[in-house]
């Protein structure tokens, strides 16, 4: 990473609310999420299933699932411009070129009836029209860039002839072919086996160093967070409860939820005992409490936690937590 590449904010999310409007009520899946992402930075977004991580990502792309999901409030500033105000046609121009995405399952991420080359071609031709031979050369280069051996041969093959790790790398090649400033990686390694995971993470790191793109890395694997991310945002029941540099979050988690989450990661040292778990269930997103959302499971709960949602507390340099009990730095 060249030093001058980091710093400038490429993506800023302010007070994002995405709710599902159902007949039974309103599901507040994303309820006031704010974070920012600088050039060349990897921000990890962690949290348990259903806390709104993926929906946050889809809100940023403005690709919410059908069936009542709507972003009702907030701003998504991409290079300072609020993309929530763009028309659908303008959004299509933004997607793929300025913000792109990699999903969890490489098995279904590629179109089974087209060869790898054809799928790369679609992505490349969106960026520029060029003679076919040149596009194919570029596709080969794109495959080589994501460490695919013998790309000239691979390019004529179909997705089912590739392994899961290779497919995910092809998906990566397609995602970055538009040279986006921001890449959203939604659990890209969950479906890969552990050795391939490591390779893929290294690849992402290298690509990031080459292009200087910012990565929003969604995961629930703290091991991956430690390896990949510069900063971490911990999400709980639709809100980011703690956000800070990776080392600080690991070494001195402030929010009781983060602490419990880190405590529940099995340790490789010491005696093998029962795994630590967090008692209880997250609150229903249809019926959120007025106070802190973690209150019902929190060991430190007090009356004020139930009465009002805690304000964001600055606990360190670029480290914040939403909790009444933490002491400001």
């Amino acid at each position: 990473m060249k030093p001058d590449m980091r710093g400038e904010t490429v993506l800023e999310v302010r007070d994002l609310h995405t709710h599902f409007f159902l007949r039974r009520g309103v599901v507040k899946a994303v309820d006031g999420v704010s974070f920012s992402l600088r050039r060349g930075e990897v921000l990890g977004l962690v949290g348990e299933s259903g806390c709104g991580k993926s929906l946050t990502a889809l809100s940023l792309m403005r690709l919410l699932p059908k069936g009542g999901a709507q972003t009702i409030k907030g701003e998504v500033l991409l290079n300072g411009e609020n993309i929530l105000k763009r028309t659908p046609a303008e959004m299509r121009e933004i997607r793929g070129r300025r913000i792109s995405m990699v999903l969890q399952d490489p098995q279904t991420s590629l179109n089974p009836v087209f060869s790898i080359g054809d799928q790369l071609r679609e992505a490349i031709e969106r960026r520029k029209r060029a003679p076919n031979v040149e596009v194919m050369k570029e596709a080969v280069a794109a495959l080589r860039r994501v460490d695919i051996a013998a790309p000239e041969q691979r390019i004529g093959q179909y997705p089912h002839q590739l392994s899961g790790g290779m497919k995910q790398r092809v998906v990566g090649a397609i995602a970055i072919s538009g040279e986006p400033g921001v890449l959203i990686a939604d659990e890209p390694t969950t479906a890969l086996d552990v050795t391939i995971q490591l390779q893929y993470l290294k690849l992402l790191k290298r690509l990031q160093a080459e292009t200087g793109m910012a990565i929003l890395f969604i995961t629930h694997d703290f091991g991956v967070v430690g390896r990949m991310c510069d900063r971490v945002a911990v999400m709980y029941a639709g809100r980011i409860v703690e956000c800070g540099p990776v080392r600080q979050i690991f070494e001195a988690p402030q929010h009781p939820y983060t602490r419990a989450l880190i405590a529940s990661v099995p340790k490789m040292t010491g005696p093998v005992g029962r795994l630590t778990t967090i008692e209880g269930q997250p609150p229903s997103l249809m019926d959120l409490p007025v106070g802190c959302r973690f209150a019902s499971r929190c060991p430190l709960v007090e009356q004020r936690c139930l009465d009002a949602y805690p304000a964001e507390v600055r606990v360190g340099d670029a480290h914040t937590a939403d909790c009444w009990k933490v002491t400001p730095a």
Binding site: L63, M101, T108, N111, P112, V113, N132, V133, G156, Q161
Partner: protein, 308 residues
């Protein structure tokens, strides 16, 4: 995965891959193929019938319409009383059955081609739009499909024949109306499951419009199903055409069609069985061949089966 370990085939570098690839995949020499053996006999039968249809005027020994009442109801040549002049015998008006069969193939195939293009095409489009767009559009289109299914198809075709008059156009329209709904329903089902796949989501991530996704991503994926539906429905169309002609709602006589020939022979099935049976055998062979071909096609078009 064993396949990934093998050296990839060298000819696999194809600079311009197109939809053609779906119909004619690259052959991998010397590799064991698990896809079903090529159904040569059905293909031969289909080819013969197609050639008959295309070159009917050159192949038919006699006019299919001119009557020679002197030679009426002659049995096929190999039977007692058969004449060498008429290989498959003659009908009640002394018309050569072989010539009528050859000309009849023309009508049957042309009706099949047009009805499948029209009905299948509409069904394909409706299925893709309903499945991909979903919501109210889906509901409306699928209720239309349900409505189309509730029509008794034969009755509807008869009604059409009465109001619009018998003829080729009426027949094609009637059969198309019978076909599109079943195409739409099957295709929609495919699209519903395709839509959930990540490659569709990623296409949207890349900034593809809904139309582009439907045409370049969904369509090629349902083309397999579509081709199988088409081949399997050729049989349905031929039988529908025969049925309608048999009932008198198809092509008006004396133009020969296979269904009409059966209809005409029906009254004399006891003494001159060949008049009805020979076109019946032709229909059976044609439909069976097309179905066997369709099954093989389905296996061949599946990219997962293609190179196992």
């Amino acid at each position: 995965m064993a396949i990934a370990e093998r050296p990839p085939p060298t000819e696999a570098v194809t600079p311009r891959l197109s939809l053609w690839r779906l119909v004619w995949p690259a052959r991998v020499p010397g590799r064991f193929r698990r896809t079903a053996r090529v159904p040569w006999i059905p293909i031969a039968i289909i080819v013969v019938i197609v050639i008959m249809a295309v070159f009917a005027p050159l192949l038919a020994p006699y006019s299919p319409i001119d009557q020679t009442l002197r030679d009426k109801l002659l049995p096929p040549a190999w039977m007692a009383g058969g004449s060498d002049k008429y290989f498959l015998g003659t009908d009640a008006f002394g018309r050569d059955i072989l010539s009528r069969l050859i000309y009849g193939a023309r009508v049957s195939l042309l009706v099949a081609l047009l009805a499948l293009t029209a009905g299948g095409g509409v069904g394909l489009a409706v299925g893709i739009v309903a499945g991909y767009v979903g919501g109210a559009v889906d509901s409306i289109l699928m209720r239309l499909v349900d409505a189309a299914f509730t029509f008794p198809a034969i009755l509807f075709a008869l009604l059409l024949a009465v109001t619009m008059g018998q003829g080729f156009g009426t027949l094609v329209i009637a059969i198309s109306l019978l076909l599109w709904a079943s195409f739409a329903r099957v295709i929609r089902g495919e699209v519903l499951s395709l839509r959930q796949r990540d490659f569709v989501a990623l296409a949207r991530v890349r900034g593809c419009s809904a139309l582009r996704i439907m045409v370049t991503h969904i369509l090629p994926n349902v083309l397999n199903t579509f081709m199988v539906l088409v081949t399997l429905n050729i049989g349905v169309v031929i039988i529908a055409e025969a049925t309608l002609s048999f009932l008198g709602a198809g092509i008006p006589p004396p133009t020969p069609t296979w269904g009409l020939m059966i209809s005409e022979g029906r009254g004399r099935i006891a003494e001159a069985w060949w008049v009805a049976l020979i076109p019946g055998i032709a229909i059976t062979l044609m439909v069976l061949s097309v179905n066997l071909f369709g099954d093989w096609m389905r296996d061949r078009l599946d990219p997962r089966l293609r190179q196992l």
